[in-house]
């Protein structure tokens, strides 16, 4: 019984945070990288989120899914106005395809690169919505909750991003042909 209590104490103590971060660091960084499209920004976003989580670890660790909780912090940090201001973001009107298809049988790989590069040109909220929808496989209701918007708005973010991607990919495909 004492061992169980000790284990429970360890779970909620300082060591718990270290262990949890060691286990989840890769997943969090991957998610942040997909979200931001930049390794440095991803590391910053994860570090900031973990700092916030550390300060209130008692509450975070008691959440149903601490990983989702921290990912939400990463998303919030990424789309926050001050962070966008710090990045001096200047969105472009139309996505520009920067990787061209090659004819050596690696078309699928080239297309993945193209999609990745095109996603990098999307506005932050559209990109976040796309990442949450297709990487995290969340529902529109969950995306809306994370992005602090209506479900219809979340759906609109994803559909606009898809329309832009499709248009650009179609145009580039026609040019390649």
């Amino acid at each position: 019984m004492e061992a169980v209590l000790a284990a429970a104490e360890v779970r909620t103590g300082p060591l718990d945070f270290e262990v949890w971060v060691t286990e989840k660091a890769d997943a969090l960084l991957r998610f942040a990288y997909v979200l931001t499209g930049d390794a440095t920004l991803a590391e910053d976003a994860v570090q900031d989120a973990l700092t916030t989580a550390c300060a209130r670890w008692g509450r975070v660790s008691r959440a149903d899914d601490p990983e989702a909780y921290v990912k939400r912090m990463v998303v919030n940090a990424h789309i926050s106005w001050w962070r966008r201001f710090r990045r001096r973001e200047s969105p472009v009107d139309d996505p520009v395809r920067t990787a061209r298809a090659v004819s050596d049988g690696t078309a699928a790989r080239a297309e993945a690169d193209a999609i990745w590069d095109l996603c990098a040109t999307l506005p932050d909220k559209q990109r976040a919505a796309v990442v949450l929808r297709f990487y995290e496989e969340l529902s529109y209701a969950e995306i809306a909750q994370l992005l602090h918007c209506a479900e219809a708005t979340a759906r609109s973010h994803v559909h606009r991003a898809l329309a832009a991607l499709k248009t650009t990919l179609s145009t580039e495909g026609a040019e390649d042909a």
Partner: protein
């Protein structure tokens, strides 16, 4: 009917694949995140503690300043009168000046009608001293007629009070040696004046002393006017009640 393609179904798997490919390809620093998070939290808390400490120190300094505010350069009637009195004339122990303990019993009123009087002889009815009345004490109160309030005060014993009354009641209605001014209304009003508050059997009775401005000067009881001469002035213009100057005092010379 043209075939409808759902962009989500068409592009979704490709996007998922692209994300998963790239998510696995990056080589980011994944160690030391927890330690750095703890360090930042520690620093943040330290900063917060220091900020809270600074706020407490500021509040404490403000509180102490408020407590000792009487001695501060903030314009209060007592502090101003003390400092201004010293500037006008060094305070010297004068014969007939009551000891401090007695002086502090009943001070001059902070606000007095003399500050707002339209004319020098506007002593409120019933408060002017009949110079034939026996007096048992005197408190001289010096007031600014502007924003300065009470500039100084001095208390005298019965002997000096009686000497002041005796010196005033023999004076003519005006001093012919004083100049007659023609001046603009805005400078006609005296910048300061003194109220002599005598203790009598019927209560406190007053004589107003006007020595500045350019309309008139002298001792005013509300019913009588006595010319401004230096003999009575010498008896009570001491310490903080002694002005640094005045239009008519300059002409008196020996006050």
């Amino acid at each position: 009917m043209p075939e409808q393609h759902d962009p989500e179904q068409e592009l979704g798997p490709k996007i998922t694949s692209a994300f998963q490919d790239h998510a696995g390809a990056q080589g980011m620093q994944n160690t030391g995140l927890a330690r750095e998070a703890r360090r930042r939290v520690h620093r943040r808390r330290q900063t917060m503690s220091m900020a809270a400490g600074a706020v407490l120190v500021v509040a404490a300094v403000g509180g102490v300043w408020g407590l000792v505010g009487d001695g501060s350069p903030v314009a209060t009637s007592h502090s101003d009168s003390a400092s201004e009195g010293k500037a006008a004339a060094p305070e010297q122990p004068s014969q007939g000046v009551a000891p401090n303990s007695e002086r502090d019993k009943a001070g001059c009123p902070v606000q007095h009608p003399i500050q707002q009087a339209a004319a020098p002889n506007d002593v409120p009815t019933g408060t002017g001293l009949d110079l034939n009345t026996q007096v048992t004490g005197l408190r001289a109160c010096r007031y600014s007629t502007g924003q300065g309030g009470l500039l100084g005060q001095q208390e005298f014993d019965a002997a000096v009070a009686q000497q002041v009354v005796d010196a005033i009641k023999v004076l003519p209605e005006r001093n012919p040696d004083l100049p007659v001014f023609k001046c603009a209304p805005q400078v006609a009003k005296p910048s300061e004046a003194i109220t002599l508050r005598f203790t009598t059997a019927a209560g406190t009775k007053e004589i107003w002393v006007v020595y500045d401005g350019c309309t008139s000067a002298g001792f005013f009881t509300g019913t009588h006017v006595y010319g401004l001469y230096s003999a009575p002035l010498k008896l009570f213009m001491t310490g903080s009640v002694r002005p640094s100057g005045g239009t008519y005092l300059s002409a008196l010379k020996d006050w």
